[in-house]
């Protein structure tokens, strides 16, 4: 009912390839049949309209078909990618999921009921309207993930209009709104989604060459890594027409290098947030950081140097956090921007979030893990600019008793392993006797980060 517009495309493009996964093509006819099969299968399992279903998977053919089947049935889907599987219980609880569907690397599907009362006011709102929903997770300043509830009837509306049919790489994750945007863009235009074996420079370039990919949506840091690895030189990437990037501020050097390495490719900055979806944007020039953002249903304004956005496809609300909207309905992005007429330049996040290769790191979460370690009195985690990863996580630590720096660093790394994702583990650790609070008992992250910037600037001279 909600994906009628997609079903029309599937019929029309029956012989075209919808997904290439593990090098194998799956046609729209297959997807159409799979969708019908999964609608029946989910119904016979007892899954009803309005149920909250955690969907653990990646862009495997069945993951895509099951996701669409959940939408068709009017369920509330909660996608979860392998990268966040270790948080499954926490996220399931926040989402109050009453079903779990797990799709493994072989694309086998298992369906399990989960004990939960999924009676949240936002869910009730969707149920009253009979609309399907989707929940994405972002993170709060304390490190607790926020559940972002979207009304899919609204979010899907922008895919009704047909646009370009371009083969696109599934780089952004299955449980990321950018990944969802990639998928819907591809399916609504009857194009092909190419799933790489791994999200690493080599496999990504190989997939582009092998399957004649035309659009590569990435993060600036991944582009940087790719250029650095020179994987692009090993493959014929002449099929590429667009590289879209978002999720973090693009270093000017990466943009310049990218424009030089891919002369025929158009670089497009996208702007998006989990709460509002992905907006179309237009770079002023090929290698410019100034963009015009917007598109149908989107409006923006700058208040106190920060970007605010109003749009039709905004989320219904957070499951577990206060509303980030102004009283007149504008979403406060938290991004600091420069404005020049109709153009914007995004400078970065207002808060202390450290963006490592497009992945967000919340200092509080890392500090918490460090402070579990025996002998640690206090820890302040902050970011430092890094040419390879965008930023790296640094920690200034006060020890309760003296210990050689190298020995401590080794102990810290061993402790963090398994407790933190790799990108969250501090790469630079300094020991200090200083107190790490300012007069208002706030961590002096910003001072440390600024100090790091100065040090680097001097070092580079």
């Amino acid at each position: 009912m909600f994906i009628g517009f997609l079903k029309d495309v599937f019929l029309e493009k029956a012989d075209a390839v919808a997904i290439i996964w593990h090098g194998r093509p799956y046609q729209y006819a297959w997807l159409s049949n799979a969708l019908e099969y999964w609608v029946g299968r989910l119904t016979s399992a007892g899954i009803c309209s309005g149920d909250v279903v955690l969907l653990q998977g990646d862009f495997t053919p069945n993951s895509v078909a099951v996701l669409l089947a959940l939408v068709e049935k009017g369920c509330i889907a909660v996608p979860l990618s392998a990268e966040r599987v270790h948080e499954r219980e926490t996220l399931s609880s926040i989402a109050m999921a009453n079903w779990t569907i797990a799709i493994d690397e072989e694309d086998s599907v298992s369906i399990n009921q989960r004990q939960a009362q999924s009676s949240h006011e936002l869910y009730e709102l969707l149920r009253q309207k009979g609309h399907p929903g989707i929940v994405f997770f972002t993170s709060g300043s304390t490190g607790v993930s926020k559940g972002v509830v979207h009304d899919l009837a609204r979010l899907l509306a922008k895919y009704h209009a047909r646009r370009h049919d371009l083969r696109t790489l599934a780089f952004l994750l299955f449980d990321h709104i950018g990944g969802f945007d990639t998928l819907l863009y591809v399916l609504s235009n009857g194009s092909t989604l190419v799933v790489p074996e791994f999200r690493l420079p080599g496999p990504v370039c190989q997939a582009i060459a092998q399957h004649q990919v035309q659009v590569l949506p990435v993060s600036p840091s991944f582009l940087n890594l790719m250029l650095l690895s020179e994987a692009h030189a090993e493959f014929d990437l002449r099929s590429l027409r667009y590289i879209t990037y978002g999720a973090e501020v693009m270093p000017a050097s990466t943009l310049r290098k990218c424009a030089a390495v891919f002369p025929g490719v158009t670089l497009l900055q996208k702007y998006g947030a989990t709460e509002i979806g992905t907006m179309r944007s237009k770079s002023e020039k090929q290698d410019s950081l100034w963009v015009k953002i917007g598109g149908e249903g989107y409006a923006w304004r700058v208040v106190d140097g920060m970007l605010q956005i109003k749009c039709d496809s905004a989320m219904v609300g957070y499951l577990n956090a206060p509303s980030p909207f102004t009283s007149d309905g504008w979403f406060i992005t938290g991004d600091v921007v420069e404005q020049n007429g109709e153009s914007l330049r995004i400078l970065g996040r207002k808060s202390d979030i450290i963006n490592v290769g497009g992945q967000k790191v919340y200092p509080a979460e890392v500090e918490e893990v460090i402070c579990e370690l025996d002998g640690v009195a206090d820890a302040t985690v902050y970011g430092e600019k890094n040419q390879l990863l965008g930023n790296i996580v640094c920690a200034k630590i006060r020890l309760a008793r003296p210990e050689p720096a190298e020995q401590f660093s080794r102990r810290l790394r061993a402790h963090c392993k398994g407790r933190l994702d790799k990108y969250k583990v501090p790469l630079r650790v300094t020991l200090s006797d200083d107190l790490q609070f300012d007069a208002r008992s706030k961590k002096m992250r910003r001072n440390l980060a600024e100090g790091a910037g100065v040090k680097n600037a001097q070092g580079a001279v």
Binding site: L228, A231, L388, N456
Partner: protein, 106 residues
Amino acid sequence: MLVNSAMRDRVIKVIYSALDEINSEKGSEGKLIESEETSLMGPASSLDSFELVGLVLSLESKIAEEFGVAITLADEKAMSQRSSPFRTVATMADYIMHVIEECNRG
């Protein structure tokens, strides 16, 4: 020339000691061999991007200890080279030599 080659040996030693540290935390697989040909990045390397950054930071502090100069290896200049100076132990050593030299020249 002699001075240069002795200096290069010292730089190589510093790199090997940084590799030793990384190896001590790696499992039996993926240990880095002490050789000038050893790849530090790209498909042939067993270092991931975080380990590479860790190595670069560790080299910066080891160089400061050994030679008494504060250098930055991963900067705009390194990134804008046509081929990355971090490819192998040998190219890394050459680049470190170059950066130290520039640093000493002021």
